[in-house]
């Protein structure tokens, strides 16, 4: 039996940021993660931050590496076959730039800072259960290396993603969910090539494509794909050829191709669970809601969830 103020289930960006923000407020927490830390840090996800997210991360002391490696820009372009593309200009219309910086780097920084500050993070936690969430002394039970552990806490933060146990611990009579699945996925690659200058969304009769970036020598590209497609069907050459076909010629000519260092297929889904709070359990990030990556909103919601409770 171990006592803490907040038990955080999930060591992704939502859980780790919450743990850090609580620490800044003098509140103690323990993070319980099912996977290894190495596995969590291997995930490649979001890459576009809202200005509110950038400001929050800076105020929380996470700005140094972000400002060194990230890149502020005026918004994203939408291209449509041979029509003239336009810029969704967030600086002109809202006075707020968008910011390219990878979720993987944010998570790495959060682990570094939590470890530096003596934060307690339990990885490879198995069989995680939430107990007594409607009462005053909720508990999180789990096994680590064959030994049973129980955390007694004041609050539980469910930051364990869409497939996590936290949301499923809310009684079925209370939980309402709203969902839309899409009949396609995104095939994405990461390549150590200079990105095209801008973030560009392209609609084409062959399907959607997106040009994005992580840093000056790291490009991220996506194409809409059939949900049933296999990565093995997409050698790099085929990917680059298909990608270029979907952008207007002037943009396609700027795409620098090279070997992929990562290639993955992600399904697209919209999902919201209500309420986000039940008893002493609060949900944050993908545990509470999923958005398709098109609006670059998933990580930005996970960050604002961290201040909402």
């Amino acid at each position: 039996m171990e006592r803490t103020q907040v038990a955080i289930i999930g060591g992704g960006p939502a859980g780790m940021l919450l743990s850090h923000l609580l620490h800044l407020d003098g509140i103690e927490s323990v993070v319980v993660e099912r996977q290894t830390k190495a596995h969590v840090l291997k995930r490649i996800r979001a890459g576009v931050l809202e200005w509110g997210t950038v400001r929050l991360l800076r105020e929380a002391g996470l700005g140094e590496r972000m400002d060194r490696e990230g890149h502020a820009h005026d918004g994203s372009f939408i291209a449509w076959e041979d029509r003239e593309p336009f810029l969704i200009n967030t600086v002109e219309h809202c006075g707020k730039p968008m910011f390219s910086y990878g979720q993987t780097a944010i998570t790495e920084e959060l682990y570094r800072i939590r470890e530096r500050d003596g934060g307690r993070i339990v990885d490879e936690a198995e069989n995680v259960r939430l107990l007594d969430i409607a009462g005053d002394a909720p508990k999180v039970a789990f096994e680590k290396a064959g030994r049973s552990n129980t955390l007694v806490c004041d609050f539980i933060a469910g930051c364990d993603g869409f497939h996590g146990v936290s949301r499923q611990s809310i009684p079925a009579g209370v939980l309402r969910t709203f969902e839309r699945a899409y009949p396609f996925g995104w095939l994405g690659i990461m390549s150590e090539t200079p990105p095209v200058g801008d973030i560009i969304y392209a609609r084409h009769e062959r399907g959607f494509a997106l040009a994005s970036r992580r840093n000056p020598m790291l490009s991220r590209y996506y194409i809409q794909c059939d949900p049933g497609t296999e990565i093995s069907e997409w050698p790099d050459d085929r990917f680059w050829e298909e990608l270029k076909r979907r952008f207007p010629t002037e943009i396609a000519q700027k795409i620098v191709t090279g070997p992929s260092i990562e290639k993955s297929i992600a399904p697209l889904r919209s999902f919201v669970a209500e309420p986000m709070r039940y008893g002493r359990l609060l949900l944050a990030g993908d545990a509470a809601h999923i958005v398709p990556p098109t609006g670059a909103k998933g990580l930005n919601l996970a960050v604002s969830d961290g201040i909402a409770p």
Partner: protein, 62 residues
């Protein structure tokens, strides 16, 4: 109140996803409607401002 920002982002993501992807059951009518939406966005500063406001992110709420 966090749910208001959540639903705002869910709606924007859904709207952009619908606009920019080719759906398997998309007919010519729908394709033209989407093209018209692009043309409107491309030509209208007001439409661009509304999109930019949502893309930049709705306020953080506590």
């Amino acid at each position: 109140m966090a749910l208001r920002r959540v639903w705002g982002a869910v709606r924007l993501s859904w709207q952009l996803t619908k606009l920019l992807h080719v759906f398997p059951d998309e007919d010519h009518f729908e394709t033209r409607i989407k093209l018209s939406e692009f043309d409107y966005l491309q030509a209208s500063p007001h439409a661009q401002a509304a999109l930019a406001e949502q893309y930049a992110g709705l306020p953080f709420e506590s």
